[in-house]
Amino acid sequence: MRVVLAEDLFLLRDGLVRLLEAYDFEIAAAVESGPELTRALAELRPDVAVVDVRLPPTHTDEGLQCALQARRERPGLPVLVLSQHVEQLYARELLADGSGGVGYLLKDRVFDAEQFVDAVQRVAAGGTAMDPQVIQQLLSRRAADDRPLGRLTPRELEVLELMAQGRSNTAIAAQLVVTERAIAKHTSNIFTKLGLEVSDDDNRRVLAVLAHLDRDH
């Protein structure tokens, strides 16, 4: 799997290259600025891009803007955005086109190599990887006044949280140490209670959940 990596801090870039190579990714390019990233994405057509939000030359949200632009030109281009801080505002922008293949994680998540690699693979396959903090913020904002959400059992909320991060039933089952059948039952309950259309497609259901959580009151 070919990866384009954009990160301006040498130590982190180097660490990410080594980590991804250790898990058999092929690093097509490891760049350190916005313009270089745009060029690499257009010319190398990678399977997935791992991008730091803040990049030179402006040191603002250059990386995010490049990723969004690249996705406008090539819809569905898998992009995993990394940042020192997570903002729902950015998550919203990344999810806005509804085409999947999007990830948005805190840089700290790299500490858990396996989970991080799993997220990269999920995004490359057209899935979603949302940082737990984004989901928690969404849920805590909702919890106060969202009636359907209030009808979920604590266990179902737990499942919802993991599902919204983009985890598959298998992964959720493994994390909560229950059978996949139990998770499937929980998810169908969640969808009924939230009034969402049940879908077999993992990714579409994540986007539906996220859309529900993030819709304006």
Binding site: R54, T60, D61, Q84, H85, E87, L89, F111, A144, D145
Partner: protein, 437 residues
């Protein structure tokens, strides 16, 4: 209005030098008298002319004609005032600042008239003209009189008294002395001598006094400046206090938080090194603990950074930073932003933290279930309103978060207004003068 400094100078000159000093002094006195005389004689008709023309021209503005004549007349008044400024500086070292607002060269008569009439300096000019033709005339003429009048007294003593008293058909009055004989003529000479001494001592100071009077009327009010200095001193002290307190807080947070965690991590890693062979299971446990510590240290640093300068603010500017802030609130809110550019970083930061403080207040105390934030820039003013539908009763004062907001914005000459009747809603309006780029 005699200047202490002027008198002091005279004393120094009198004691330090003798004959040469006296000659210089006499020259100074005569020069001051001559200048005062010229000034009085030339200024009076000019001041009357300027004042009359200005009054007529301004009165004719509603009729239309005034629109064309006013800029022309006021420009004349300014030249006259500027001439006085030059004389004041050259003759007496009195500096009168020129504070006219610039008028665009290619502006049409209407714009020029409006701009000039809106300028406080114009009104100071017009106020000065009547003063100049009365008190100004007198103070300018006085030095000349003080020199000339004693000469008449001496002339009387020298024999002129006979001619004068004959012409009068009785005693001729020199000040309070009725001159009608040799004795009274000498008395007149004595009075003249006293006057001459007074002239010798005070003539240059009198001319300076004349220009001081001009400055008092023409220069912008000291009271305004004093008030401005007071406000600046106060806001500067607040700004320094606030930033010192912030630094203390950051230092404490780093010391007790991230720093301590890194120390713990280092110790754990050292222990891991020792345990690697002996007790791998324990080592693994410590490694997991070290990783948790590093994650928590990061989390604390992130919170700290958000408190110093929120990353979204750096990346996106005020509008999106406020949007991101609203998204993190536990209550639903609507944000509307109308900004054509970015303000200076310090202003953005102050505005952001002000909004943050007001919203936090709303969440904590108002019991509101909805909030609205509006950010826009117009007429060189950044205006932010934060509204909530809570129970109201918010005030600026004693320990209220709004006092902090007031201080924060005060540094930038910004103001806060709170409307919060009991029962709500609460409307907090903040204004900061600034330009966008």
């Amino acid at each position: 209005m005699l200047s202490g400094a002027g008198v002091g100078e005279t004393d120094v000159m009198n004691t330090n030098t003798k004959n040469g000093g006296l000659r210089t002094r006499v020259r100074d006195v005569l020069r001051a008298a001559g200048r005062g005389f010229v000034l009085a004689v030339v200024s009076l008709p000019l001041a009357v002319l300027c004042f009359t023309l200005s009054a007529v021209s301004v009165a004719l503005v509603p009729a239309g004609v005034g629109i064309f004549t006013t800029p022309w007349v006021l420009t004349g008044v300014r030249s006259f005032a500027n001439w006085q400024r030059v004389l004041a500086a050259e003759w007496s070292g009195v500096r009168i600042p020129v504070t006219y607002r610039p008028v665009p060269k290619d502006a049409n008569p209407w714009t020029r008239t409006v701009l000039m009439l809106a300028d406080p300096a114009t009104w100071r000019d017009l106020r000065w003209l009547p003063v100049h033709m009365t008190a100004g005339f007198f103070t300018a003429l006085l030095p000349a009189l003080l020199v000339l009048y004693p000469l008449e007294g001496f002339a009387l003593a020298a024999g002129l008294w006979r001619v004068m008293s004959k012409a009068e058909g009785g005693p001729y009055w020199y000040t309070f002395v009725p001159v009608g004989s040799n004795v009274t003529a000498f008395a007149a000479a004595a009075v003249a001598a006293v006057l001459l001494v007074v002239a010798h001592r005070y003539t240059p100071s009198l001319l300076t006094a004349h220009f001081r009077l001009t400055r008092a009327v023409l220069a912008p009010g000291q009271a305004q400046l004093a008030e401005r200095v007071r406000v600046l001193t106060e806001t500067r002290r607040d700004a320094v206090d606030t930033s010192a307190a912030e630094l203390r807080r950051i230092e404490r947070d780093l010391h007790d938080g991230a720093q301590a965690r890194l120390v713990a991590m280092g110790m754990d890693l050292g222990t891991v090194e020792a345990l690697l062979e002996k007790n791998p299971a324990k080592a693994r446990k410590l490694l997991a603990q070290a990783r948790r510590n590093s994650a928590e240290a990061l989390e604390e640093l992130r919170d700290l950074v958000r408190g110093i300068h929120p990353p979204v603010l750096a990346e996106r500017g005020l509008g999106d930073a406020v949007r991101a802030l609203a998204l993190r609130l536990p209550l639903p809110s609507e944000v509307s932003v109308e900004l054509s550019g970015r303000a200076d970083a310090p202003v953005e930061s102050a505005a952001y933290f002000a909004v943050s403080e007001v919203l936090t207040n709303a969440v904590k105390h108002s019991g509101a279930d909805r909030a609205w934030v509006d950010v826009h820039h117009a007429d060189g003013m950044l205006r932010i309103t934060v509204t909530d539908n809570g129970r109201g009763g918010a005030v600026i004062g004693a320990g209220s978060g709004l006092t902090g907001v007031e201080r924060r914005l005060g540094t930038f000459d910004g103001v806060v207004a709170v409307s919060s009747p009991a029962g709500g809603p609460t409307l907090v309006t903040m204004e900061i003068p600034c330009a966008l780029s």
